[in-house]
Symmetry: D2
Subunit: 260 residues, 4 copies
């Protein structure tokens, strides 16, 4: 799978906030098998030594860094943060968050499109945190985005996929754009369900970092994401409205059942 011109092997993108300790974070990232970690610039901009330590921990994972603009509420703030991130992390990648509402932390889709355009024109490779809105998606693509990251549910809510129909619709309308469900995932079954819809990846943070055992949970999500992806490829059975026997009733071997 490719995001922009970068090949990645894992479909699990993982966040670096909220872990009980840096060493648990490190172990969890390893257990996740992720190639890509998101990092908040805000954290890094502190003057504390701990910033340095944190950065060295991240480096140790060997993962690509996807800096994010978490907490930014205006286009200007997000653009400035992105520039700082590019300098610090030496990558054109940026997970673009323009937060429009304090409780739900939902995207401000207006600011998002505007910031995405500014940054794309300036050479950034933007991963926009967006809603499942098809029209917004179209505008983000027009603004230069080659990846979209619709939410499953509000950040940190653990609710899973609030609007499955909307996410399925987005997938159907953009069959060739890499789509990553970002935010709201609480359980591995949620992540598997996203992948079963044909999504290309899942980004999450809280569900791992705040689990009782983050390392084990990271492993669980890694398996679920891979599982959902394999299922999508393997062409699952259709739901049937009435029950059908899985065991032929006649006394014939199963490879003859078509003739029974």
């Amino acid at each position: 799978m490719q995001f922009y011109d970068q090949e990645v092997s894992s479909r699990f993108l993982i966040g670096t906030a909220l872990y009980p300790s840096p060493s648990i974070m490190l172990e969890a990232i390893k257990a996740s098998g992720s190639d890509i970690v998101t990092v908040s610039l805000r954290r890094e901009s502190g003057k504390e030594q701990s910033g340095q330590n944190f950065w060295s921990y991240i480096k140790e994972t060997g993962a690509k860094v996807l800096p994010n603009t978490a907490g930014c509420k205006t286009v200007k703030e997000a653009v400035t943060t992105a520039h700082m991130a590019r300098e610090i992390f030496e990558t054109p990648w940026v997970k673009l968050e323009v937060i429009g509402e304090d409780d739900s932390l939902q995207p401000d889709v207006f600011g998002l499109v505007e910031a995405a355009k500014i940054l794309s024109e300036d050479g950034f490779q933007v991963f926009p945190y967006t809603t499942e809105d098809l029209v917004v998606a179209e505008k983000l693509i027009a603004a230069g985005c080659e990846v979209l990251m619709p939410w499953g549910a509000p950040i940190g809510s653990g609710r899973g996929l609030n609007n499955i129909y909307g996410l399925r619709s987005l997938r159907a309308h953009f069959p060739k754009v890499p789509l990553i469900v970002d935010a709201g995932i609480g359980l591995p079954s949620h992540a598997a369900a996203a992948m079963e819809l044909g999504y290309d990846g899942v980004l999450l943070n809280t569900a791992v970092a705040k689990a009782g055992d983050p390392v084990l949970m990271a492993k669980a999500f890694a398996m679920a994401i891979e599982s959902g992806h394999l299922s999508f490829i393997a062409d699952p059975i259709e739901k049937r409205d009435m029950a059908a026997p899985s065991t032929p009733v006649a006394g014939l071997p199963f490879w003859n059942q078509e003739h029974a």
Copy 2:
């Protein structure tokens, strides 16, 4: 994990019907990592040579055989079939199906309890295919069953978990009885969700055998079942009604955030 006195390592129990060919079945079972395969006696009772071949295929998997009484509609038929199975497969295990209704293939819980009692008293170790009914569960346990296999949805329907509340309730009422969701699973996310409820295992057949690529799908389910189990152990986050930031807004390192 133990079923009766047998230790098993995989929580995925897989069926042997409906595959496109015996060799695909064999590969799918291998990919599933299952320790236990269910086999229908009815198929084996045919006089065709193919019966012998089928049996040798099953042996090749190295898995324990859980003979089933699929297609039996009366206590007598189920008991007779179980006896034949014990002779042929040389195991006290039997997956007891007493089918009460042709369309949904749902259990006849009356016949089921009666047959479970007869067979348990006769030394069988019964795995009853049942509904999520708590009272029926109590009676099955009183009849000697040490494992219960409630349905997720009708056999072959691929609908997943029709009554999540009922399944959760069953788990809560029988915390120490091994519980396996049997039937109705269509997608890995369904299987993961069952395990996230604290179930001990998942038995399925159609969702693998009739998938476009049964071998890949077997692998997908294996990962999902393990994933859901790990998640249950790892203590997932609670759902929250309002969004919460997963990234602290202050410029502090994350391990200090409690003091922020």
Copy 3:
């Protein structure tokens, strides 16, 4: 609509427990428009004067009384209670509850079928409180029941319809038997949904009696139940997977649109 040989005009059956006061109960029953109220014998068997008062309140509603065996846990207890009820309330009707489990108050389907048989043979007209189990339904009908009352969810839980697929299946298998969803309803939309499945009536108690304004809530449920029933008759549109315009785009009058 008929239950046994009695014509009733309302499809809303209402309970008489848990109201803040008898006068509110009376008003709520009037607001419900119910023809049928369920009454627990246990309450009536007290020696208090209040029992007499309660009974006179019920009479004032003009509704048919459907005595219930609420709280009975054995066949014997239920049968004895039914006999007392027949004497006191002078009706062959009985809502038969044989409770099998203390937390969920779910039916003991074994005891239920046995008691239904005993009572039917003794001239009772039994309204069994049951699950959505098709096989149990068949046995209750064979035992003489001409009405079935499957649960939506546990009594008093307000959860609505826990197993919509099961309830739909029951309706499909017994197109001519009057079916009433009994228990678990919390909101008018739940009751409407039950009727939209083609159910013949809804019985509830807690959702009205424990609402902030029981009288207003009784009215709300009356409308929802009637609404769902009308919808079932009026042949609703099918769900569509993709959106379709409800307004023709051409400049033609709507009655010509077929030719547009």
Copy 4:
């Protein structure tokens, strides 16, 4: 209830497209009890006599007309259509649709906000057809809208409420703005559920016009919408996770149960 400065008594807003005939439309509108009908200008702009007839039918209902800009895909088109509508229908009201996507007919929230601003400044009273997006809602209000009409699901899909969490969140964030669920409703239970969330009204068209019996279905929806509204006022019981008896087990009158 008020929309802008107009008092309305019914919370059911009904569309005028897709009926089998004008007389059935007329009857259905009467059965709905609606005070407000939406009318597409596009239909009226035809040169056919039938346009005149249609208009006289609408007048006969006595309902307020809410002209809509259905089918408009650009700000300019919507604004022009709104102006024509104001002239023809002599009302400052306009249901503003700026369609952003052909399959789902979903709003283009960018064009919507822009057109809402232009029209509000020009003295229109705008009812914007929008999504459940909180940030878009904020911008529409800033643009002058005093009513919001978020979708339940795509127009004509009959799917109900695709994102209940989003709709609940919108209600919570704008407790004083009249909110109407517009589009996607298929069944009365969907409409009741919208009102139970605290919404102020429901607008629908296809679910009535394309039902087998539109007149009966209009009546069903009228009852469901009123029912859901009453329920919201009457303070419903909370869902409980475990069952609770609705009938006290002790032999005490119900008004003493607190002391039992």
